[in-house]
Amino acid sequence: MEKIITVENLRKVYHHNIIHAFCCGHSPHNQADKNEVAVENVSFELTPGSIMGLLGPNGAGKTTTLKMITNLCLKTKGNIVIDGISLDDNPHMALSKVGAALDTPSFYGELSARENMEYFSCLHKDSSREQVMELLDSVGLSPQAEKKVKKFSLGMKQRLALARAMLGQPKLIILDEPANGLDPQGQISLYHFISKMAREKKTTFLVSSHQLHDMEEFCTDILILDKGKSILQGKTSEILCQKSDIADCTLEETENLEQKLSCLSGISIISHKGNQFTIKLETVTLDAFMRKLVESNLHIQYISMHRNSLQDLFLKLTGGTEECIP
């Protein structure tokens, strides 16, 4: 099947030295500081019309990965092929297929939204003033087209950044935390817009985000990074199919409670605090699990069940706690 992007064994190591220390204002303390591995062996591929959610805790290497794909950050190792063109062989041609909105959206504040768009549209041969207005309209900014960008809210700048990323009709759009600063309605309309573009125009999206619930809803593919390494990736549907039921239960205190519980087949203990357990029902149903508890003389004080979500998976894989998630 046609691939819009193929990334193989991507690696990034930052080398810090004295000159870097002078420029950035901090000096490396040890060898690990001097050679910081930001991304390690990340590989994935995407087909046209797919939406990949790039997830991971802060500092996991998401933005570095996106910047390597857009050639803003030079990779240490690995291959990137965009629409059949290698980024190493022909970066100009490969990047002509890519639109991106990275970092906090930045513009020339003294210029209006339209002027900013026209400024960048000059760099695209086939862009016209009509296309600029169409794009502003598509992100709901046409009423503010003549307003100076310095007066824009973060949410409005995010939408303008999305419009700018779409200049030149790219086949792949890369968005770094596009929902930052958007209100709930704004987030919903952004995700609807992305889904519509992917469905109707077969545009491929690579989106980094912390909005796990939304990512679960609208991404076709998921890639979770932690400490620069890929720890989970695949089709969202397949990942969530593997999810199992989770039971939160409180049992009456008895001797060796944890040991007795761990002897039960078809389950595994995820965590526990005193007599409160979080249990993964791997091969048994809730009814069967409750029967096993009764048969083992374990008395239930409280039990509830919920489905493992992307958030649970994320927390489990990255070793976080629920409190970590905003």
Binding site: I19, C73, L95, S106, F107, F120, C122, L123, H124
Partner: protein, 254 residues
């Protein structure tokens, strides 16, 4: 002209600071032209208006611009033009719209070097206008004007070369104030090198030639040999700064 160069030129043209600076420079030039010819000021500053005024006034003021004020102003403007764009995450935006790193540097350098030339031209116009307003047409003595114009052209080349250096330095350091600090260090070093007795070091030092034009051959015409030597050294420095900027931007992580 390439689109990116045009866009950068527009950005410089839109800087209000440029207009404010030249308005101030005009006022300074105007008042100085009138002040130096008052007996009190002549006595106070111990100057002879017959030497520094009249036809020589544009050269006298050129030293003021090329020696310090102009350098500091253009360095400030160019570091703002590059480092602040970099800090605001605007420098790399053309890369996301089909431009190459090399083209960004090339466009910035073309704009910076042209800007320096134009600024020197503007100072020449301002100084001649104020001199004409003060002393009338007697300032236009053909041989004198030719000598001063050639010094202005050489100063334009020098300032362009410094602006290419500033762009290269900004790309390496990526910090406005640290870049300005480095240029101030250069200016201090310049006065030391120009006063040193080591002739070889002086001859390969970029700041030596403007010093030669403005002090050694003060109010005198410049020998062709020295003018050419200065141009060659500056072109070499310019090429070096350009290559350095190209090398650094290709290695840069945004």
């Amino acid at each position: 002209m390439h689109t990116l160069t045009k866009l950068y030129a527009t950005k410089i043209r839109q800087q209000k600071l440029v207009y404010i600076f030249f308005a101030c420079f005009f006022m300074a030039s105007f008042f100085y032209a009138f002040l130096i010819s008052t007996p009190e000021m002549e006595e106070l500053l111990n100057i002879d208006v017959e030497i520094v005024g009249k036809g020589n006034f544009p050269e006298f003021m050129m030293r003021f611009y090329v020696g310090a004020v102009g350098i500091l102003f253009q360095v400030f403007l160019l570091t703002m033009f590059l480092c602040e764009e970099d800090r605001a995450k605007m420098l790399y935006q053309p890369l996301l719209h089909g431009e190459s790193r090399s083209r960004i540097v090339k466009s910035k350098i073309i704009v910076a070097a042209s800007m320096s030339m134009i600024f020197v031209l503007l100072t020449a116009i301002i100084n001649y206008v104020t001199a004409y307003m003060r002393w009338g047409s007697q300032i236009f003595e053909v041989e004198l004007v030719m000598g001063i114009v050639s010094k202005y052209i050489l100063s334009g080349i020098y300032m362009s070369c410094l602006s290419i250096g500033t762009i290269a330095l900004s790309i390496c350091i990526r910090n406005t104030w640290k870049t300005i600090f480095c240029v101030i260090v250069y200016m201090v070093a310049d006065s030391f090198v120009c006063n040193t007795g080591i002739l070889f070091l002086k001859k390969i030092w970029i700041g030596y030639y403007p010093n030669l034009w403005t002090f050694t051959y003060e109010y005198r015409s410049l020998p062709l040999k020295d003018a050419l030597a200065g141009i060659v050294i500056m072109v070499l420095y310019g090429i070096f700064f350009y290559q350095m900027a190209q090398y650094k931007i290709k290695k840069m992580n945004f």
